[in-house]
Every structure is written in C-alpha cells, then in structure tokens.
C-alpha cells in the first residue's frame, strides 16, 4: 500500500507541471463541438454568438464612456480610444443564414461549406517516428532496442500507436509491447491518453493504459502512464527528454525514465516500489530533420525490491551501454 501511495505521488508529480500550467484547459472539458455556452453569455459582451436578434442597440454616450478594456493601455503618442462593445443592430441578423445561398442555391453552397471544413481547421494528419532505434553495446551481451510512436488525427483527438521492445543480438526478443491509445488534448501542451497495451514478450499480457503526454515547461517532452494488467497488477512509467541544440543540426538529448510497481510481480522479477531508473545521453546529427543517426551512453539500474530480486537471481542490477542508433520519422 505504501507503494501504491508512492506510485500515486509520482504520477501526481509527473502531472504537476500540467496542472500548474494548464489550469484552465485542465479544468475545462473540451467544447470544440459545442456551438455556444449559454451560461456564460452576458448580452453586452457576446457579439457574435447570438443567433437571434438582440434588443436594439442604444447609441452610447461617447463623452463619458468608461474604458471597457482595461488590459490595454494606450501610451503611444496617438489616441486609440476604446468604444463600448455591444451586439450588432437587429438588421445584422436579417435574411438567410448564408448570403450566397440566395444566389447559387443552398444545396451547392452547403456542399462547398462542408468541403471547406477540412481546409480551414479540420485537417487530419499523422506521423510515425522511430524515436530510438539502437544497438546497445556493453559488458556481456550486446542488444538492440526499438521505441516507436505514431499518431493520426486532428488537433484535439488522435489515435496514438506506441511500441517498445528489446532483445539481445542473436537471441530472442526479450521485451515487446504495443500500445493503442486514444489521445485527447486537455490543455495547450498536454494530451490525455487512454487505451490498451499488449505485451508480446516476455509473456502475453494485456493492460489498460491511462496517461498524459506532452511538453512540460523548459521544453521537456514528458510521457507518463499507469498500466493495469489483466492480472490486476498496477505499474507506471514516466519518461522525459530534452533537445539541446548544439548547432542547428547537432542535438544533445538527455533522457530519463523511471518505472514503478504497486505490488510485487514475481514472474517478471519486479518488486513493489520504484523498480527501474534509466538514463541516457544521445548526440544526434540531423542530416535531415527526419533522419538523424546518433551515438550515446545509457545507464540503467534496478531499484528497491526489484534490485534485490535481481541480485538474488545472480543478475547484474546495473548496466552501462554505448548506444548507436537512428532517430527517423516521416
């Protein structure tokens, strides 16, 4: 239970930046499909939302009119006076919804408007990136690792695909997982992600996934998720990386990843608590933005009960690796 609390705290920690920064987005559900929100519609302010003609607008008294917009200070030499805001006069609401309907016909114009949506905001697009495609060379056996991520969708909702795995050269794949997630923008910089994860190796297991991914302050790319397995095991993973440009094409990327478990998972040699910390420093050269080979060093260490379990099994709980890899996307 202590571990559960710890896990919770860690997740909170990971989420803290977005709670702190994106309070409005965080607090607000997505209204992208809503036409209007009646509860916040003071008649004097809301000029564009009225479908019905409002009460006739009374010409205000200019001389004593108070400034409506206090956020603007006009210190420039010239005077940019503010006038009172108000709804348009009733005649601004006269006639058909769309003027061109009267000339070209409503059907053909409706079709044109529908076509317009994709080219004025509703563009769907996607990408597939091999964030890390690398050989890991160290003491003992040399291995390989892949870390892929792709998405397809719009600004707010996306389908996200992730896959990670590793193995030893000449040996079998040791770990392999695929995640299929729905991503939903919950603020300017963060997406909520929920979906499923399927482990193929070391054994077939499925998980529910719930996490956040996005850009934290100071330009750290953060991916934090909790996983609930089909056996009821709760684990979590938090990773962050940062791109430091040395030149326009030579980029140094520190990266860190922390794994946690809320309970022992003996068959995977995982103990309750912090289970693994992994850090790396990769130096890549962007021959093109989409194609960047890199070299780096990686260090990983098992923690807590997991570490003890590894030691007991006669395994080295730490590892330092030389990394040779490729970051590529399209």
């Amino acid at each position: 239970m202590k571990a559960r609390a710890l896990l919770g705290a860690a997740l909170m920690l990971a989420a803290a930046p977005l709670v702190a920064q994106d309070h409005s987005g965080h607090a607000m559900p997505d209204h992208s499909s809503h036409q209007q929100e009646p509860e916040k519609e003071p008649a004097a302010e809301d000029h564009s939302k009225h479908q019905q003609a409002p009460a006739p607008f009374v010409l205000p008294d200019m001389t004593g009119a108070p400034k409506m917009d206090h956020s603007t200070m006009d210190h420039s030499a010239h005077q940019v006076g503010d006038f009172p805001e108000g709804p348009p006069p009733p005649e601004a609401f006269e006639g058909a919804q769309h003027a061109a309907d009267a000339i070209y016909g409503p059907a053909v114009m409706a079709e044109a408007r529908a076509t317009n949506h994709a080219t004025h905001g509703d563009m769907k697009t996607g990408t597939l990136m091999a964030e890390r495609l690398e050989a890991r060379i160290g003491d003992g056996e040399d291995g390989y690792l892949w870390d892929l991520q792709g998405w397809y969708g719009g600004d707010v909702d996306k389908f996200v695909l992730k896959s990670e795995g590793e193995g030893a050269f000449g040996g079998a794949v040791e770990d392999a997982e695929v995640q299929a997630l729905w991503g939903h923008a919950i603020g300017p910089f963060f997406d909520l992600q929920a979906g499923v994860r399927l482990d193929i190796e070391p054994d077939t297991r499925s998980h529910l996934v719930f996490g956040v991914q996005g850009l934290a302050p100071y330009m750290w790319h953060v991916d934090a998720a909790a996983f609930l397995s089909d056996r009821g095991d709760l684990t979590a993973r938090i990773e962050g990386e940062y791109d430091q440009k040395l030149t326009q094409r030579l980029i140094l990327q520190p990266r860190a990843e922390l794994e946690l478990a809320a309970q022992d998972i003996p068959e995977r040699e995982i103990g309750e608590g912090l289970t693994k910390f992994e850090t790396g420093l990769r130096l890549r050269y962007e021959i093109a933005r989409e194609f960047a080979p890199y070299v780096g060093v990686g260090y990983e260490t098992k923690l807590g009960a997991t570490r003890s379990m590894a030691k007991a099994a006669g395994n080295d709980p730490d590892g330092l690796k030389l990394l040779l890899g490729l970051r590529a996307w399209f």
């Binding site: 036409q35 956020s71 006009d74 805001e85 061109a100 004025h120 600004d155």
Partner: protein, 598 residues
C-alpha cells in the same frame, strides 16, 4: 481601345532582358498546355478576359516541383484594368480539383469575390466560371486562388487598375510581385508544420548561437516558447521570387537616370513578410493596399503577406539592388534596378536572424527605437519592467499574483483576461498579459536599423475620409498554439463557426480591435472593404487598407463602415494559418442592401 494601348506601351513589365521573350511569345494566352510553367507573366486586359488554371511543373534555382499555373505562367498574368470599366473574366478550371480566384482588394458584389463556401460554390474541374463586375477603384492589387493551398503552388498574379484621370507622378511603372516557390507540395508543408517541431527553422538559438543570456533562455523555455519563431516556413524550403524569378535569375528593371519609377510592390507570398529596400535609393511611399497615401520617404519598409505598397524612386545612374529580404532573414528575393542593361547589382548580405522580445509576448510596450531584449530576472522582474516601459500608467489587468508565485506561465496564459466569447481550450497557448497598440512598430527586426523605416503611424490617407464616429466596438482575439499548430479567432477555428459569422448592419460603422494573443505577426485581411487604420492620423486622415499586420502580443485597431452587403471572408493571410482555421465570415446585412431592393 487606342487609349488603352497607348497606356500599355508606357507600362512595362519585369525586366527587358527577360521580358523580351515574354512579350514575343504570348501563346499561353490561348490556353496551350505546357509541361513547364514559364517564369514571369504576361498581361491580360480589356472588358473580356480569359484565365485558364492548369497543372504544370516549375523550377527555379535548382528547385523543381509541381505548380499550378494560370495561362501557363507562374505567377499568372497581370490583369490590367481601368477605373470605371466593366469586366467579364472567364476562369476555366483544368485541374482535377476545385479552384477559385479571389480578387484581392477589389470592391465588387460579394458573389464574385471568389471564396468557395463563403461567396460562391467554387469552380469545379472542367467548369468555366464567369466573374462580372464594374471597376470602382484604381491602384495596385492582386488575385489568387482561395481553394485549399493552391496559392502556394503558383496560382496568383498581379492586378493594376489605372485611374480614370492620368497620373503624372511617375515616368515608368513596374510590378514587383513577391512570392515563394517550394519544391514540396503544400500539403506536405502543412503536415510538417503539424508534426515536425519547427521543421523549417534553421535559425534557432543553440548552445553556440544567439546572444540571449541564460536566464532569459530559461524564461522562454519555461513558457515553452521559442524566441526565434519568426516565420513558420523559411528559406529552408522556399526560394523567394520577384515576378516569378529567383535571386540568381538576374531579373532587371531598366530605367533612365532622372526618371521617376513607380514600383508596385505586392506581397503575393503564402507565408513570408519581406523587408524591402534599395540600398542608396530612398523610396517615396505613395499608396498602401492600392489606396493613395500622403507621400512619405523611407529607406526601408516591411510588407506583410497580402499587403501592397506603391513607391516612387528616382535612382541615380547605375545598378541598384532591389532587395526583398525575408523577415526571418532566411533568404531574399532579388532584382536589379539598373540604367545599364545587363549590369547586375550586388545585393547586401542577409542580416542577422531576428529574436523576439518581451513586447512580442504582450508584456507591454517597448518603443521600437530601443527594442532589444530587456534585462531582468527570470520571474518577478518581468511585470515591472513591462510597466516601467509602458509609460507609467499602472494597469489594473496586471497580474501581480503571478509575480508572487514566481511562475511566468500563469501570467502568460491567464485566460481570465479573455472575454467570455473567447473559447478557451488547447488551441490557446498564450494570452498576451498586457497587449499594446504597436502601430508605431516598424516590424520584427527593423526596430534597430539606423535608417528610416516605414511605420503604420507614417501613413495618412491622401484624400480625407468622411467624418463618422463608430457606434460600437468589436474585439477579436487572434489565438493560437504554436506547438500544435492551431490558429483561430477567439479560440474557434473557422470549421467550428461556419454558421456563426461576425455580424455588421449595412452602413454600420464599427471600431474593430484585434488583440494578438500569439507571438507571431498576423496579416489580417477583410474582403470586399477598405477599413481605416486607427493609427493616430485623425479620424479623417486614417489610411485605408484591406490588410493589417497585427504585431506579436499587440493590438491593432481599425474603423470600418460596413457598406458592402453580403458574406465576406475575414482571415489571417498566412496561408497555413488560414488553413488551420484562422478565418471567419463577416456578414453585412440586410442583403441585398436597402437601396438595391427597389
């Protein structure tokens, strides 16, 4: 007709060197299918004009790709008209997708304005659409596709409308149409803007580049903003064009010493602001967006996308570089203004990349003259320095709480400062905490140059406007999210507000205040109208424009008399911003207008 032809002789296009062939081969005018679009353009005029839109290849300076050419050229032909005439323009679509032509800056019945889904249905493949309208104005304008991203592919051209009375102000008349060419398909550019972080920007601050101190770098990083975010699409993929010619093509504008040369400078680019200068040759600005202004002499000016400026120059004998430097300094368009045919002028080198400042975050005023980045600690110092430079008046909107928390981010996205009609969501990554009117700002990167640069406050209408006070104000927030590449007005993309336009009553006079809650400069264009910039010139001398650049983190205000009934597009003229949703419909009702009903 005789008069027209006489005038045409006086009017010269592009360089004589390049043009000689251009005039000799008008075959494209008959709609021949060419595999490669020609660079540069011919001319069409008269009361009946035919334009044919077709797919071609195009190449410039070693970059090659697909293009959409009109009448076989990129840019398409100069449409030359005369004030007071009527014109019928048949536009034939030979593409496999819908197309359109919008007549940028022209006063006309809205159904011929050429915006698919707003003013008309668009032109289907194989179809010919006839535009028909009287010419009610004179000046320098342009036309372009309003369908998808076709404009980026070459579907644009200049418009010159001669005044009804002879214009004695110049001896020679040239069009300088600025644009870009990319070998990448515009859909691919749009995708890169969505998925690749600063994909086209190779002028970022690095460990070794840029002189911003560490504390300021941390502050920008803390806000998840990039101070080198000047242009979304850059010279990394663009070749900047003058009349369809790249900088190495040797485009020449000939003159005889002593002549007054009128340059009609049109920014027909999709995404680029240009700094225009002819080193050693002062320019007298005589018109902005086609409308005459009181002459003002400058050494340089910045032209936003979709703006036009007419200048008169009187160069001394020799060859002078006409430089159109991209605002982010990632490249330039180039031509020679020369009295010796074949003599190319040597262009000045590109200047240092531009870095955004506190004022561009909407942190308050810093007058252009002393610009630069302000020294302060990463947290609390900011608000105060903004205020000190703001002119001493404390603003009730200042968020002192943010200072206490020591977190910039609160005050950089305090959505409580937004009016309730702005939809707050992932599409807004910033709220300018203290947006200032910056009509006196000469443009990013030009606030520190040591010669005369045009500012909006220098513009005065040449003819006085009727004196009318606005009866109400409308505030529109320009909103965006750079990381997600989302752009909108009032937090809502055009696709979400198609049925909820901005409404004006016919003949209503409205003061429209644009608040830029982003760190990019947006050229905002209203179709079918000229508005008056509220630039301090006095109500009757406010310059008329169709496009206004709203500086980063700033406000810009215009007065408009809504006297053109119908539905009109209103949008950011950065093509990929519009494509992302930074557009609205402005409707002027009743339609038809009361006097038309009779």
């Amino acid at each position: 007709m005789t008069a027209l032809q006489t005038d045409r002789r006086k009017f010269m296009l592009g360089s004589t060197g390049l043009l000689a062939t251009g005039l000799a081969v008008p075959a494209w005018a008959r709609g021949e299918s060419l595999s490669h679009a020609r660079q540069g353009f011919g001319e069409v005029s008269g009361e009946r004009i035919a334009l044919s839109v077709d797919r071609h290849h195009f190449g410039v300076g070693g970059r090659k790709g697909h293009a959409i050419a009109v009448n076989g050229t990129v840019p398409g032909p100069l449409v030359r008209l005369r004030e007071g005439q009527n014109v019928r323009i048949d536009v034939t679509n030979k593409l496999t997708e819908d197309t359109s032509i919008h007549w940028h800056g022209l006063l006309l019945p809205f159904q011929f304005d050429g915006v698919p889904g707003v003013s008309f249905p668009g032109i289907k493949p194989g179809e010919t659409f006839t535009y028909e309208f009287p010419i009610r104005q004179s000046g320098t304008y342009w036309w372009h596709s309003h369908s998808g991203l076709q404009e980026q592919e070459g579907h644009y051209g200049p418009i010159v409308i001669e005044s009804a009375e002879p214009d004695p102000r110049y001896d020679r008349d040239y069009v300088v149409l600025l644009s870009e060419f990319s070998p990448r398909h515009p859909h691919e550019i749009a995708r890169m803007l969505k998925v690749g972080e600063h994909y086209f920007n190779y002028q970022m601050q690095t460990a070794s580049e840029g002189d911003m101190p560490l504390d300021e770098r941390l502050m920008w990083g803390g806000m998840r903003m990039n101070p080198r975010d000047i242009s979304d699409v850059t010279g990394a993929t663009y070749t900047f064009l003058v009349n369809g010619h790249g900088p190495m093509d040797g485009l020449e504008y000939l003159f005889a010493p002593g002549e007054r040369v009128r340059l009609r400078i049109i920014n027909g680019s999709a995404m680029t602001f240009f700094n225009i200068r002819i080193p050693g040759v002062p320019m007298t600005v005589i018109a902005a967006d086609g409308m005459d202004v009181a002459p003002v002499e400058v050494d340089e000016f910045q032209i936003g996308t979709a703006e036009t400026y007419d200048v008169i120059v009187r160069p001394p004998a020799g060859s002078h570089a006409l430089v159109a430097e991209a605002m982010d300094r990632s490249g330039m368009g180039l031509a020679s203004l020369t009295s010796h045919k074949g003599h190319r002028a040597t262009p000045p080198p590109l200047r240092e990349p531009v870095t955004l400042t506190m004022a561009d975050m909407g942190m308050g005023s810093m007058d252009g003259a002393h610009g630069g980045t302000m020294k302060h600690d990463a947290h609390g110092g900011m608000d105060h320095s903004g205020m000190n430079h703001g002119g001493g008046e404390a603003s009730p909107a200042m968020d002192h709480g943010a200072t206490d928390h020591g977190a910039m981010d609160h005050s950089m996205r305090d959505t409580s400062k937004l009016p309730p009609d702005v939809k707050v969501g992932p599409g807004i990554d910033m709220v300018a905490p203290m947006p200032m009117d910056r009509m006196d700002f000469p443009g990013l990167g030009l606030d520190k140059v040591d010669h005369r640069v045009l500012r909006y406050t220098d513009l005065k209408a040449a003819r006085t406007n009727p004196h009318r006070m606005p009866t109400r104000q409308l505030t529109i927030h320009l909103t965006g999210n750079m990381e997600r590449y989302m752009w909108s007005f009032d937090g809502e993309k055009f696709s979400a507000v198609t049925d909820d336009p901005i409404r004006f009553a016919y003949d209503e006079r409205v003061r429209v205040k644009l608040v830029n809650d982003t760190m990019m400069a947006h050229p905002i264009h209203l179709h079918g109208h000229f508005f008056e910039l509220v630039n301090g010139a006095g109500m009757m001398d406010q310059p008329l424009k169709h496009t206004v650049v709203v500086q980063p983190g700033s406000t810009a205000t215009f007065d408009v008399t809504a006297n053109e009934p119908g539905d009109w597009a209103f949008h950011c003229h950065l093509l990929y911003h519009m494509h992302a949703g930074m557009m609205q419909t402005v409707t002027v009702r009743p339609f038809p207008a009361p006097e038309d009903k009779a």
